[in-house]
């Protein structure tokens, strides 16, 4: 590289993204980035390889800066805006999608369900502990045969005097086997209702799902509810019907709109650095036109996705976002993120398949991110319904 070559610009700096953020948002982003540099990045390849993450210890550390339930008000939560939450998700996922998943499930699914639909007693009991990382939560909606079709879930809650008795099985539950509390959705005579289930309740068990090739630095579990008897006060009073859990999922999806771009950014930055230092024939890989074409195209997609994410963040903070708009973001940004991760891998070639670089780890994680919290196909149908007024889900 010639001595007077201009200093390279980072992909998102080319879009002057910082100009769209206020000082507080930048401070929050920087705090999460530094946290990940210190506490996640040095260990993540090991955690991923072993398929074991010290989630409970990590949760306490994440809570230390206020990451758990950060966008909720009161109950020990930081009370940031939604855009800041998105930026935090982006930085977490730049380290690893599994770590972002831990935070998403705790804050946007488990805590949010209690925050939005719970009784004051439920909020007082669980939210402060969950914000402090002393209690881990999980969210039990999906079942083996009911992923995109949660309306069909078979887990049942039946009245037994004043109590409820729950029976059923949930699967693909992030944080399930380390959780202290599970928000479980079950069919009742009154439609789908949510229950706050302490995981030490008799009849509740959780087994970790092993042999995963994606999200290996994240705990994924199956929950079994075998005659789990709960007091009437365990029901989430304000959650009636499928709309309640879907509202929670929309919260988590919002985090993925930003988060997925974090993984893509990490791949792209890694790849640019690699291409600049890797010599092929007699010059750096970065000096080849084919490499530059790939880098330019990936940067365009990353930047456009970021502008979309920030636009959706501002809409959410204004209280104007619609679920189908979150679908736009989730569909586009997970799609471009996985495409970027795969394209980056072609530039790193064989090195790209190792754990010495984050690229294939991110790509493999994004396989899950592409389909969880609503598959790409479901989001296409949500958008299609918004455009045509026709429901084509079944």
């Amino acid at each position: 590289m010639p001595k007077d070559a201009p200093t390279p610009t980072a992909p998102l700096d080319l879009f002057a993204i910082d100009a769209l953020l206020d000082a507080e948002e930048i401070a929050i982003r920087d705090a999460v980035r530094r946290f990940c540099d210190d506490h996640v990045r040095p260990h993540i390849a090991d955690w991923y390889e072993k398929g074991a993450v010290p989630a409970r210890d990590l949760a306490k550390q994440l809570a230390g800066i206020g990451l758990l339930g950060m966008h909720l008000e009161g109950y020990g939560c930081a009370g940031t805006d939604a855009t800041s939450y998105g930026l935090a998700c982006l930085e977490l996922e730049a380290a690893d999608s599994g770590i972002r998943s831990l935070v998403s499930v705790q804050g946007s699914l488990a805590m949010y369900a209690v925050y939005r639909f719970g009784s004051e007693e439920q909020k007082q009991e669980w939210l402060p502990k969950m914000a402090a990382g002393e209690a881990i939560g999980c969210f039990g909606l999906t079942e083996a045969d009911f992923g995109s079709d949660p309306g069909g879930i078979r887990t049942r809650a039946v009245r037994y005097g004043a109590d409820w008795v729950l029976n059923g099985t949930k699967t693909w539950i992030t944080n399930g086997s380390i959780a202290d509390v599970a928000v479980v959705w079950a069919r009742t005579d009154d439609g789908i209702r949510g229950f706050v289930v302490p995981t030490d309740t008799r009849g509740f068990s959780a087994a970790e799902i092993r042999r995963k090739l994606s999200l290996r630095a994240s705990v994924t579990s199956e929950l079994v509810l075998d005659n789990v008897r709960l007091p009437a006060a365990a029901m989430l009073p304000a959650a009636r019907g499928l709309a309640a859990p879907l509202t929670c999922l929309s919260e988590a999806r919002f985090g993925i709109v930003f988060g997925s771009l974090g993984a893509a950014r990490d791949c792209l930055e890694t790849t640019i650095e690699y291409a600049r230092t890797r010599r092929v024939f007699d010059k750096s890989l970065a000096a080849y036109q084919l490499t530059q074409a790939k880098l330019a195209d990936m940067t365009l997609e990353l930047g456009k996705g970021m502008l979309l994410a920030l636009h959706l963040g501002r809409l959410k903070d204004a209280g104007k976002i619609r679920p189908e708009q979150v679908s736009l973001g989730k569909l586009n940004n997970t799609r471009v993120a996985i495409a970027i991760a795969r394209e980056c891998r072609t530039i790193l070639a064989a090195n790209g398949i190792t754990m010495d670089y984050p690229v294939l780890r991110h790509a493999n994680n994004l396989e899950s991110v592409l389909t969880y919290e609503g598959t790409s196909e479901v989001h296409q149908l949500i958008i299609g319904q918004a455009l045509t007024g026709e429901s084509a889900f079944r």
Binding site: E24, I28, T277
Partner: protein, 259 residues
């Protein structure tokens, strides 16, 4: 206990650093941060405050952008800030900086003044001593551990040959090393609370300092010139496919006069 921390805004060591035409460091046109070594002083102050039910005031001297050093300290948990901002300050050396700091600090009537062990740009480590001289206060520098009990402060200093423990009484000036604590990350609550915390902006006039007492013209020393360090060149990779690697390595070490 009232604690004042002197905090410096410095160019970010991970970014590009530049000089102005007058050979001073460009603090405005480059990314800057609270000097990393001052974070230890802020952290120590916060810990002492929390143990003694006190108050932490952060003082910085510098251009408009230097306010970021105060803000970062407030995000970490300091209670209020003072920013001395005056165009005439540009180019001040450590002697002038210590004069400005002394006037700003004495208004606070602190029990304890904490500084980092050095700035990450100038790296002179002399401001705490100069400040002590100007304020007529005792100073202990390079503290690796600070224990406060009422008005008694016990300080551990780790030297090359021995460790010494020094006892002093407040009011007192301390500089702390990067061994004395682990600076906290600003929490989200801290970040959001910071913008509501008071920051007082003072001019040289407010401190009773004349413009010709500070700045480039009043400096006791002058930077005549600078040369930027050459960028790191790519290393040499020794390929060992015939067992000659050790010989090549030894030849390299000899050629560089390392052995």
């Amino acid at each position: 206990m009232k604690i004042v921390v002197c905090a410096k805004y410095v160019p970010d060591a991970t970014g590009d650093r530049k000089f102005n035409a007058d050979n001073t460091v460009d603090r405005v046109g480059v990314d800057g941060v609270l000097s990393e070594l001052d974070e230890y002083a802020v952290e120590e102050a916060l810990q002492i405050r929390d143990a003694t039910d006190g108050e932490v005031v952060v003082v910085t001297v510098g251009p408009e952008v230097a306010r970021a050093a105060v803000l970062k300290s407030l995000q970490m948990g300091a209670d209020s800030g003072v920013h001395v901002l005056d165009e005439a300050i540009h180019g001040s050396d450590s002697a002038a900086t210590s004069l400005i700091l002394a006037r700003a600090v004495e208004r606070q009537r602190p029990d304890l003044v904490l500084c980092g062990m050095a700035s990450t740009d100038g790296g002179m480590s002399v401001v705490p001593a100069m400040l002590a001289e100007r304020l007529g206060l005792p100073q202990v520098t390079f503290a690796s551990e600070v224990v406060v009990e009422d008005t008694t402060v016990r300080i551990r200093r780790d030297g090359d040959a021995a460790t010494e423990v020094i006892e002093a009484t407040t009011p007192l000036i301390l500089s702390v090393t990067d061994q004395c604590n682990e600076p906290r990350y600003p929490s989200f609550k801290g970040i959001m609370a910071a913008k509501k915390k008071p920051v007082e902006t003072l001019t040289l006039g407010d401190l009773g300092i004349a413009a010709d007492q500070v700045g480039l013209d009043a400096a006791w020393t002058r930077v005549d010139g600078f040369t930027e360090r050459l960028p790191k060149s790519a290393g040499t990779v020794v390929t060992d496919d015939n067992g000659s690697g050790a010989d090549q390595l030894v030849s390299f070490l000899v050629s560089q006069k390392f052995v």
